[in-house]
Symmetry: C2
Subunit: 408 residues, 2 copies
């Protein structure tokens, strides 16, 4: 018999696009987000891209009455951008930084500097143990030729594994964030297939908001119309996912914002917010705990992901090789110059002043090339190791999956 | 009623000291280790410092009959050095890289390049779910003035948190590795207090081996006698720790090797191996699951660890500041030189050849300093973020601890 009334939980998720000096109208928008969160009084607000801790502190101060508990996950050079505001106490937190996250020399993209990660918060709400995850995966800058796809697949795999390994004791698992993947992308299928998480948009009873649940829409004045050209309705890359373990969870209602904030001329962010009303109730004894069966399609999904990782591995090996070669060439040039310098020390005052200058300039160039290529060689070696490690983990997972399917 | 006979598990742990080109008699010792593992037929062998994958493959080939299952954890530039050989199937693996692990410019120590991590293996042995962890923490190079203590404390905290968050579904938790901490060090007390792991050496019924269970002993011909001078018996830094959740675990027997390998003139490694015989049995229904009570001393331990993290934070902030200043100075010098160069372009053929050469040399130096200090500034900024994040996590943990103690 189940006497507990179901728990209604309102969860808010938004990529806030709050990069200091770069995001348009940042302060106004942070103000608007704070006002809205304060008015709406959600149970839980999961935010991404709050890069400046000052913005977080401003929000915290404004929201302390309505959301007395909050946490900012620090990582990378400028912070992970992940933070959470909650009506309920946060009992514990844990951060997992993705092992691969773009390249430090891609300054125009800058993902590497953010230390992309997944944050875990442990909370008890009316006696129910929630494991809440908030994350932000590597951005997709060019869908046709996505150089970051292997890194994003590794991140999706690590996210799935992190959730699987850390959620065993939970009653309910909740994940919110900007996954930078379309609903049918291999990373999402891998994440959902591996963890059994359900998509609030696909499961909801009532939906209101942008068509197809899109969260990056052309109607938003901050989005790039050019990038969204192949997708006239926009794309859905921000998600609220969940699963119940000892409890049963369903999404009663899902809402996205649609461009401008109510009564204002600007939107909250370049992304639309996702707001889910979840209904959580204890499983009746007759229902028992849901035993997850392995879907045979999952084997194909893991294989597909593994292929992407292998593609990334070949690219990383090529990069490592060309950086290593460059470092060796620069070193040889420097040695040659040192030899020439030493041999001509006696007759240094040559008649041609230009060679001396170009000689020094060449030495300067060779030194810079040597330093930079050595650093990049080390970086790509780490990348190779991590891709090999992930590939091996996936191989093991496939084996375990096939054993499970064989014994069914 | 408990009809299952208890499970006896023989676990082997060794830091193999197998660094290519650097460790003495590496190949002979790897051969010896392989022979011994093969003869002894342990259930589980947890190895550290197997840096070369070639050595791992050699061991794997030799041991395949006796240990059909094995895993090598890849990370860092030269691999994590962590590997496991097992008689029982490995169902899943997961790797957590510590967020801090020394400095890349400390080439003589080299820990940064190893990507120190903790590896998790999920195994089912006679129906009992084991979560086996293998790890290796940052080395201690100078106990009196240990610059790496804050990093090691962060690693111990992350290890404790990783074990706590990933072991909820396990029946038995097992951790083996070189923790580079003496038994009374703050990191060990934090790890044991936070996770409830028990020390095989402290709990065993029979012990045989080096006095006080030491694993780095002066009798070993590869250890540095000078470093061990303050500890005539040696030090104990390699551990097998365990806890039973649904099962009861005790250590029946613990053995360490003592210097040279039997019948040989050399030891297996510069560390002594630790071999535990564990007895695992299902808790009787009357016994129930052991409910862990929080020890009030744990508050002091977390506070002590937090102080160490704060000390590290101050040092990291100082380093970041001085590297930032250095980068700005180098940039100013380069700008000044560019200005001088431009202004004297017309009258370049000055009468003094030396200034031109030193001018170029100075530009070279400034460029190198600018590149290196910028990279270090970024590195120390990440370090500051991670130390701040850990300090905040510890603050939250303390609060939760105090709430728990208050409600007891």
């Amino acid at each position: 018999m189940n006497l507990d009334p179901p728990l209604q939980l309102r969860v808010f998720d938004l990529n806030c696009w709050a990069i200091r000096y770069m995001s348009k109208l940042r302060q106004e928008r942070i103000g608007l987000i704070g006002d809205m969160l304060s008015q709406e009084g959600f149970d839980l607000a999961l935010l991404q891209e709050v890069w400046s801790e000052r913005d977080y502190c401003e929000l915290k101060q404004k929201l302390v009455a309505c959301y007395p508990h909050s946490h900012y996950f620090k990582s990378g050079v400028i912070g992970s951008g992940l933070c959470v505001f909650s009506r309920y106490p946060i009992l514990d937190t844990f951060l997992y930084q993705y092992s691969l996250n773009g390249y430090p020399y891609m300054l125009q993209h800058g993902d590497w500097f953010c230390g992309k990660a997944v944050g875990l918060l442990v909370m008890k709400i009316r006696g129910i143990l929630f494991h809440v995850y908030v994350t932000h995966l590597h951005a997709e800058y060019c869908r046709e030729k996505d150089a970051y796809l292997p890194h994003r697949v590794v991140q999706a795999w690590e996210l799935a594994q992190f959730i699987q390994h850390t959620s065993k004791g939970a009653d309910v698992v909740l994940l919110g964030g900007d996954l930078n993947m379309h609903p049918k992308d291999v990373g999402i299928r891998l994440l959902r297939g591996w963890t059994g998480l359900r998509d609030a948009f696909a499961d909801t009873e009532h939906f209101e908001g942008c068509e197809d649940g899109c969260t990056l829409v052309p109607a938003n004045c901050f989005t790039s119309k050019e990038e969204l050209q192949p997708f006239p309705l926009g794309i859905r890359i921000d998600y609220i996912l969940y699963k119940g373990l000892s409890h049963f969870v369903k999404c009663d209602n899902l809402v996205t914002t649609t461009g401008t904030a109510p009564g204002k001329s600007i939107p909250y962010s370049d992304h639309e917010a996702v707001i889910a009303t979840l209904c959580v109730k204890r499983r009746g004894e007759a229902e028992g705990a849901r035993i997850r069966t392995v879907e045979p399609e999952l084997v194909d999904v893991v294989n597909e992901a593994r292929t992407e990782v292998r593609v990334g591995l070949h690219a990383a090996e090529r990069q490592r090789y060309s950086n290593g070669r460059m470092a060796i060439l620069a070193l040889l040039l420097l040695l040659l110059q040192a030899l020439m310098g030493l041999s001509s020390l006696a007759g240094w005052d040559s008649q041609h002043p230009f060679p001396k200058f170009s000689f020094s300039l060449l030495a300067l160039l060779a030194t810079v090339v040597l330093l930079v290529s050595t650093a990049l060689y080390i970086f790509h070696t780490i990348e190779v190791k991590m891709l090999q490690g992930t590939e091996e983990q996936m191989r093991l997972a496939l084996q375990a999956l096939q054993d499970q399917l064989g014994s069914m």
